[in-house]
């Protein structure tokens, strides 16, 4: 940006002043040999390797990254403010679109927060269905991550394989809820409707093949000399730095800390299932990759156990004050009609209270802070998105890396800009 002539000031071009404000990179503290010059270049927001519209001001010394400064907000959608304007039920589609790869998790955290304030019991069948869908979403998110990160590394074939398997998961979502993405399947009190006949067999068919697929992916990369050289011992950060930065999820587990909210603070009957938490040892890019791949296998185990133990029963709470009555009752029961009308037009009211509900999303701890003020619309919804906090770890992760390693590390960070910018 040094060749931009910023002395020209026009009322026709006010944008230049704004650009100057962002050019505030202070490089005086970076020690560099006298023969080298520090170059600050702009990385994004439109860039094929940043996962979304992430902008980084990267200060380079020759080809080594000395300092980065992330600038975000390029897909800021005002989701939290829009959700304040909608009834609790109608805010679910808005909230789902935040972290757009983990939509079931967004909805789960929000519905969980509302259910906590309402003190509403979710029936066991709904809990198991929620777990199955969330774990399928976790596998899907990791597949997209793997495909795009391998694309950044240059292993383009992984992209095709991962998206082929992702299509199968999207077929399962379409069968259960009608939509591929952003399905609005989780509702306050349970799930929207019961799974159709034949869905279970399809999921089992998928889970029977998935572990072999993950083994295939690992076989493609595990002994690949290029992948090993590019990922081993690259981007190592120690555990305490990550904990100070508030990082959770596979990044933290790669350093050896087995913190996983599914085991530590079980919610939605995760404690009924037997699964392991893969942890790494060194905390480099290689560990991060293997941790996520093994997590896919563990998710398959959870899904199979959930299907085996899927209880019969209602798929949404029986409390008609919060959940829609089944349609056949509308013809016969007056109360059902009134409840249906009130729920659809005004929505249910939530007594005043504030709650923070954290869950484990594919990228770390996703929490929803919900403040209810007694009306039918939430007074404040804040989503503590894991990518937003994990992005702060980019700085220590990328110190003194070559640009190519920097790109690989950015991929291993797994940022989803929808969550970062909300």
């Amino acid at each position: 940006m040094s060749d931009v002539d910023t002395t020209r000031r026009d009322s026709l071009t006010p944008a230049i002043g704004y650009r100057e404000m962002e050019q505030s990179v202070d490089v005086s503290h970076i020690a560099h040999p006298e023969t080298e010059e520090l170059l600050t270049i702009n990385f994004g927001p439109h860039h094929p390797a940043t996962h979304g519209v992430l902008r980084l001001l990267v200060t380079l010394e020759a080809e080594i990254v000395r300092e980065i400064k992330p600038i975000i907000g390029y897909v800021h959608t005002g989701i939290e403010k829009t959700a304040e304007d909608k009834a609790y039920w109608k805010a679910i589609p808005v909230i789902e679109r935040m972290d757009y790869l983990a939509y079931y998790f967004n909805a789960m955290a929000y519905c969980g927060a509302v259910e906590t304030i309402l003190d509403l019991e979710v029936p066991p069948r709904a809990q198991y269905l929620r777990v199955i869908h969330m774990e399928l979403n976790r596998i899907m998110s990791h597949l997209v991550w793997l495909g795009t990160t391998a694309l950044d590394l240059g292993a383009i074939s992984m992209f095709w394989y991962c998206f082929r398997d992702r299509e199968q998961i999207l077929d399962l979502f379409e069968m259960s809820s009608g939509q591929r993405m952003h399905t609005r399947y989780f509702q306050v009190g349970g799930v929207f409707e019961d799974i159709p006949v034949g869905w279970e067999q399809k999921v089992r068919k998928f889970t029977s093949r998935m572990p072999t697929r993950v083994d295939e992916f690992q076989a493609l990369l595990r002994k690949n000399e290029i992948a090993l050289q590019r990922l081993r011992d690259v981007g190592v950060v120690d555990e305490q730095t990550l904990l100070d930065l508030g990082v959770t999820g596979p990044l933290l587990r790669a350093t050896g800390n087995p913190w996983d909210l599914r085991k530590a603070e079980p919610y939605m009957s995760y404690d009924h299932f037997d699964f392991k938490i893969p942890v790494g040892t060194v905390g480099d890019n290689w560990d991060r990759m293997v941790v996520r791949m093994l997590e896919m296998k563990e998710s398959v185990r959870i899904i199979e156990q959930a299907l085996d133990g899927l209880p019969a029963g209602p798929y949404i709470t029986d409390d008609r004050k919060y959940a829609l009555p089944p349609r056949h009752e509308l013809a016969t029961s007056m109360e059902a009609l009134i409840h249906h009308f009130k729920l659809v037009t005004e929505g249910f009211r939530v007594p005043p209270g504030e709650v923070y509900y954290p869950i484990e999303s594919p990228r770390g701890e996703m929490g929803v802070f919900l403040r209810a003020d007694g009306s039918s619309k939430p007074a404040r919804v804040h989503m503590r998105d894991p990518s937003f906090v994990n992005l702060q770890a980019m700085k220590p992760m990328s110190e003194d890396l070559y640009i190519a390693d920097f790109i690989a590390t950015l991929g291993m960070l797994d940022p989803v800009l929808g969550g970062i910018d909300r």
Partner: protein, 169 residues
């Protein structure tokens, strides 16, 4: 979570250390929260860190309009060893929206405090780089305040698209 008595004990200890810090305790649905005075926030968080709550999960803002003091900042702390969560809340009025920044002691609060500043206008004293993070840098206003309008554009349909001339006409 610390149960209700545990919360009262923690509050009592904090009040012993600093009499004006803890203004109130809230125990709702099994979750513990402390309401502290704005100036005492860093010290309270340090004392809680010594008690084991060493991980800061979230820093977020709330607008309590129309109740005063209007702007709130919440800190969610997590104790990984005991698997315990506690929430520290503070409220500042619009006339004096200053809260001392906890970023030097808790590096995770860096971007999150910038977001609270951007969206609510709470000024964190001592923050190394307090700029807007989500909105453009020259934006005026703090969008997530309750009295900030939701905004939006009129959606173009066939019946009204001729009323808004396209930018190239």
């Amino acid at each position: 979570m610390p149960d209700a008595t545990g919360l009262e004990l923690i509050a009592q200890e904090l009040r012993d250390a600093d009499a004006e810090s803890v203004l109130d305790t809230v125990f709702f649905r099994g979750r513990a929260a402390l309401l502290v005075a704005p100036a005492a926030v860093p010290a309270t968080l340090e004392r809680l860190r010594e008690r084991g709550y060493a991980f800061m999960a979230s820093v977020h803002g709330v607008d309590y309009f129309p109740e005063e003091p209007r702007l709130g900042v919440h800190y969610e702390l997590l104790d990984m060893r005991e698997v315990d969560r506690i929430s520290v809340r503070t409220r500042v009025p619009l006339s004096d929206p200053h809260v001392p920044s906890v970023t030097p002691a808790w590096p995770t609060a860096d971007h999150q405090e910038r977001e609270v500043f951007d969206m609510f206008g709470v000024i964190f004293d001592g923050h190394p780089d307090l700029r807007r993070i989500l909105m453009p840098e020259d934006y005026e206003g703090h969008p997530q305040r309750r009295d900030f309008p939701l905004g939006g554009e009129p959606v173009l349909f066939t019946h009204n698209e001729r009323q808004t001339p396209s930018w190239w006409e």
